[in-house]
Symmetry: C2
Subunit: 405 residues, 2 copies
């Protein structure tokens, strides 16, 4: 057997829109040795993980489990399991990840309608309500926090509209869960999914998901389509789920009381996902949200203290990420490279209409910390000064310190 | 921040058909801190991983990469990206995982034909050839090693048939890769996928996959179907790939020179997958296969030395797993429980027509070791004796020692 060492990765402080540095306890959990798929200790770990994520998602949903893939796998599992070809879907779009929901729903064969607002805003409830009444969708699919714009879509009103109009509601809470208020049951959300790599302080690769009774009924109702029935009229209800890997009917049977065999559990990711929830709940969900609020506010005031202009409707911003306009005359990518090469700090670029216009700076998960915020602001000050931007010495860290005072 | 400890899992020696214990170096790699998705060190790690898996798969294929999910995600990525609704597929079925290929191909909308043999046998080349000429499939999808029966399907002949007949060939090498000869290029295989949790000595959750030029051409040819084109006649060529997450056209663009954004990389699984290949190639692929052959032979002779009868066509058995008939009068599940509870050793149950009839015992990855083989045989002797089976004292370990002598 080899005893050669693993190649080491460089030390980085990841202050972009995610992924972020994983909490050390999560990394420790992911170095634990494996047990078998149906070992009693594995069953206990799965049940414990389900219970922990019920608390994280604020739900009593029995079917609260992990999809073995990145947050995008969780999104696709929800949509491919809920949607049948020809179903109408309404997507409130306020950034890149709304467009992703559109694309995935289209690939499921759905008829997708959108209600869009400019980047930097959120979608008003009445616009959603009008669209629901016009389109009569089977499902509203919404993003809570879209890192592309930093906006945090209010969901309580959309939940009310969906309940009143008899429409299913799916929410992608990847970027926001654990660092912003999220109420699966109180807001009437039928399915919500997330990832570990944002406020949950873990690596990408596991997608926590929760399914309420209305969603479970829809998904279970598709199970009667047996193997070999390839003659289905694919415009009818009861079509077979087009994926095996992301078939939530099977995944629920695997995680549930019956514990039927499906895929081979990604045990190391399960250990990581469990540790993420344990770290979060040991701190307390409210305390975690408050910590994200505090350090997000410090970063916001800090970048303003550096003279930078913040993008978008700050009243509706996620706690855990801020987008700042790149000052005139500054090469945004060169500045990011200087942050990385000279300080080991990553901040984010941006996409679509914001490409080249803003940097995105995150304060989330384990990195929602005072030292991480102040270090990032100090480094950014140095980089801006070197780029010729007139910066008040200590303007960023000073403004952040006032938030902490 | 919490400093509470992670719950520990019990120590287990996993000698079933997989998952098995991960190599310590792999676990160490998976506790490394993260870097950003587009960090130069991440790009280097991805390129290195691609190069390593080219050697593991024995291929020059540029597009050799990881799908972020379990081995089943790799299978589905291959089939959903290659197959269009109405395509004819031929699946040689000799166990449970052949049936899985059938099911996934059906969910892709393919017209699936099979050529089946009884469990414990492999499919003869001429049966495949006859079926290919009769069915004229677009794709032959075959399993190499099916752990449900322990059989290892010969593939060189099937590759020749596919090349001669102009048919694409996909192979699921999950259970066999690294412990049995596998030749992507020499055997004319267009796409092969695997997992880490068998002979590669890692945890489930990452699916190495390699795509040859004929497959790449098919998949790239589907990219022109742009978002929003929902009016395609889905019996025609050039339909949109039904999945976003498992769309190998996008995944190739993400891993390739263009490095276009797709999902957020499951970095910890990438570290693990890279370490698996490094461990394997540090030992040497030939040496690893020989090690699996040696310890598999020792286990085979060992169980025979205990008086157990081996299931199936031993000439066509995988090196890394053996199925043994449960002796008359022995409660198979009770014996497995005794192995686990009294000795911390997991051996496997079985499925389908073999359920309750055989145990499956693996010697793979890190656990293809002399001490693991002898310990398992000693424990099994004790459990059989306690169950009232007449066993020659030291019959198992003695026979295994002779293989090692």
């Amino acid at each position: 057997m080899t005893t050669a060492a693993n190649p080491q990765m460089p030390p980085r402080l990841l202050m972009g829109p995610g992924p972020i540095n994983a909490h050390p306890r999560v990394l420790q959990a992911m170095s634990m040795q494996l047990v078998g798929q149906f070992d009693p200790s594995m069953t206990a770990a799965m049940n414990e993980t389900m219970a922990l994520y019920r608390d994280v998602f604020r739900t009593d949903n029995e079917h609260t489990l992990l999809v073995d893939g990145t947050s995008r796998a969780g999104i696709e599992a929800a949509l491919v399991s809920l949607l049948e070809p020809g179903d109408r879907v309404l997507v409130p779009v306020f950034g890149r990840f709304g467009h992703l929901l559109v694309e995935i729903a289209e690939r499921c064969g759905a008829e997708v309608h959108t209600v869009e607002v400019p980047w930097g805003e959120v979608v008003p409830d009445d616009a959603v309500e009008d669209a629901v009444r016009r389109v009569r969708p089977r499902l509203v699919a919404a993003v809570q926090g879209d890192t592309s714009t930093t906006m945090c879509q209010p969901l309580a009103g959309i939940g009310e509209i969906c309940r009143r109009e008899g429409v299913l509601l799916y929410v992608d809470a990847t970027a926001s869960l654990g660092g912003n208020p999220f109420e699966t049951d109180a807001w009437g959300i039928d399915v919500a999914s997330a990832g570990l790599q944002k406020c949950l302080g873990g690596p990408s690769g596991s997608a926590p998901i929760t399914l309420g009774p209305r969603a479970v009924e829809v998904i279970e109702g598709r199970k009667h389509v047996e193997a070999g029935l390839r003659t289905d009229d694919d415009r009818s209800r009861g079509t077979r789920i087009a994926s095996n890997y992301l078939d939530l009917a099977q995944v629920m049977d695997y995680w549930g009381q019956r514990r039927l065999n499906h895929h081979t559990e990604a045990t190391t990711m399960l250990y990581g996902a469990r540790a993420c929830a344990q770290v979060l709940l040991d701190e307390g969900l409210e305390a975690s949200i408050e910590r994200h609020r505090l350090h997000g506010a410090a970063m916001l005031e800090g970048v303003r203290g550096l003279g930078l202009e913040v993008f978008g409707d700050v009243e509706h911003k996620m706690t855990n990420v801020v987008a700042v306009h790149i000052p005139d005359g500054v090469d945004g990518d060169a500045a990011r490279t200087a942050m990385l090469e000279d300080f080991g700090i990553e901040i984010g670029t941006s996409f679509g209409p914001l490409h080249g216009r803003v940097w995105r700076i995150g304060t989330m998960g384990w990195n929602a910390r005072r030292d991480a915020v102040l270090t990032t602001l100090a480094a950014l000050e140095a980089v801006l000064r070197a780029a010729g931007v007139p910066v008040t010495a200590g303007g960023g860290t000073g403004a952040a310190r006032e938030v902490y005072a």
